[in-house]
Symmetry: C2
Subunit: 339 residues, 2 copies
DNA sequence: CTGTTAGCGCATTCAT
DNA sequence: ATGAATGCGCTAACAG
């Protein structure tokens, strides 16, 4: 890989490399004539400064790292779209790392980043993460971190999340108002922030409507889709009184849908399903499925924005900068639509 | 951001930095005793070598760039999963760039990469790309490039694609065998490789079954989803004889589905729809929708694998290494399933 | 087995 | 307005 460097360019121009360097950066102490000549030849020779040499020199990498569980999930794909856009606006590059929800992987990744590879980090926690020591270390070394969607309260940073509690409350209430009395909740790992927040919203709605909270109706949907499909089917068989399902994540909503279809339960007559889903088309393809859609794109953008503010101003990321964005409840069957 | 560097570590150990450097890289000319002592202290002090200093020195970045149109599309999300996995296996980092299908953006991005920022590039062409001069330049400078999914034949590199022609042929045939005689084709930009290949498969199937090719049945689905929805509706109104639709990409399949529903056309009785879609759940949510699913994850993995081979062996990427992977036709309504 | 030295490409002092 | 010299952190060639 042969790229033309500053020295070669300077040689071509009959100038010293320092002059060329200054010309390229529009230094005021360079005559307009030479500046233009330099730029012309640079263009012609396709000169691009080596970014890593610059990083070494200036201690700035112009790169951020994004750590996420997976990408086979519509939420994170959309979030990245937002992140990448803001990064590009700020002239930044984006390194991406997938943890596959493994705490070990997350630890390994944070180790890579303990080396000045990036100027800041956007993080959606792996569900397998137990302790946040590795992230704490990064933070202590001065690497700004902003968490989004799946956050750890133990790690004191700004966070950008959805109104998980409120929208879960509303989702549950939606089912109650539609006549459901025995509502199952399919949750994700309780150690995940979204897991417990969504559970709490569900519990609160039940409580406010004088429906007793029944642990037997709560299913923990870790494991593969196959597994979950089996467990849900089992639950529905054991508890034929279930008339509503609130799924806390997309894949559980889809598994419920599938389970009900297999069992011949008609939706929404025999049973109603509401679930988080960021696949805008889900409710289009299956109008009987009511969805809660997160503002994934906006979450990505906001998280990135907060991070860049910190990076550019050389200030730490404060928990007080945290944001909670609203999700949208889409119920096509009943044509109701709330913010 | 204060990281401990080699010199500091060496000072702490009372050794020279070169000895420490060698010890860290398990050089054979270092005694086991010192090596272990060095590693112990390095661990304790949390020493991580500065990757950019190494890049500068060794002219190796341990980073690849991935350029794609968007991520709000299931195919690319899954592909990235595969790419990232292979990259991590090879100890590589992944920079991601989105072009939003703009040729200009793509040009800008390739300019960033004309600077030794990456050791290789994985590329899915933007639909807005007219000339590939910017990519040719990169290639000429010795940056290995592997194209996937949306490829340019003008750019001579290895490519990893789906069997677009064959699967389009089969999709069209599937409709014909199901009794359709007037089949609309919703295509993407003809300048895109997938656009023309899928069109040709459609044409060939019609031809082999003695059905005349009717230009009036081919709709170019650029533009927003709203636009497309309008155009499809219009087409269906103008041509009530249409009894089948073959959509060349996911969003057009969904728009057709939506259009038919709005017009009260029952699927699959009045009209049958088959379309490319990598949302494994699409046909689950809408069983009447027959889908062609690409092996997105495998495509990502294979493309990355080819690239890393070239990088590691310092050899150019040859067009002869190209791969064409099979997609899968999923028809739930009729329970037919072909490879 | 370990230390000294030089240089990757760049930006920045300090000279002129 | 321009050039020479230095050092960012690291590795490798060259000494011992």
């Amino acid at each position: 890989m042969s790229f033309v460097n500053l020295k070669q360019l300077a040689g071509e121009l009959g100038l010293s490399s320092s002059t060329v360097s200054r010309a390229m950066r529009d230094s005021y102490e360079i005559s307009t004539a030479t500046r233009e000549r330099v730029k012309a030849v640079a263009q012609q020779l396709n000169y691009q400064p080596n970014p890593y040499a610059g990083s070494l020199r200036n201690n700035v990498t112009k790169t951020i790292g994004v750590i996420l569980p997976q990408l086979d999930n519509h939420f994170f794909s959309l979030a990245i779209n937002g992140i990448e856009e803001v990064a590009q606006q700020n002239g930044y590059h984006v390194l991406i790392y997938l943890t596959h929800d493994s705490g070990e992987q997350e630890k390994a990744v944070s180790k890579y980043l303990t080396s000045g590879r990036v100027d800041g980090i956007l993080l959606a926690l792996a569900s397998g993460t137990r302790s946040v020591g590795h992230l704490e270390k990064l933070k202590l070394m001065g690497v700004p971190i902003v968490q989004f969607d799946r956050v750890s309260d133990a790690l004191q940073t700004a966070t950008v999340t959805t109104d998980d509690y409120t929208s879960s409350y509303q989702a549950t209430e939606h089912l109650i108002k539609a006549g459901c009395r025995t509502i199952a909740h399919l949750m994700v790992s309780e150690s995940l922030s979204i897991g417990s927040r969504r559970l709490h919203g569900y519990q609160a709605a039940l409580h406010d409507h004088q429906i007793p909270y029944d642990t037997g109706l709560v299913l923990n949907g870790r494991g593969t889709n196959e597994d979950n499909l089996g467990h849900i089917t089992q639950l529905l068989q054991q508890r034929p009184d279930i008339d509503g399902i609130f799924a806390s994540v997309e894949r559980l909503a889809l598994s419920s849908y599938q389970a009900c279809q297999r069992m011949g339960l008609s939706i929404p007559d025999a049973i109603k399903i509401i679930g988080f889903s960021n696949m805008e088309t889900a409710s289009l393809l299956a109008p009987s499925l009511t969805t809660i859609t997160q503002p994934a794109y906006a979450i990505g953008k906001e998280a990135a924005r907060i991070l860049f503010q910190a990076i550019i101003k050389h200030k730490p990321v404060l928990p007080t900068q945290s944001l909670e964005l609203k999700s949208e409840l889409i119920a096509r069957a009943s044509t109701a639509r709330k913010g």
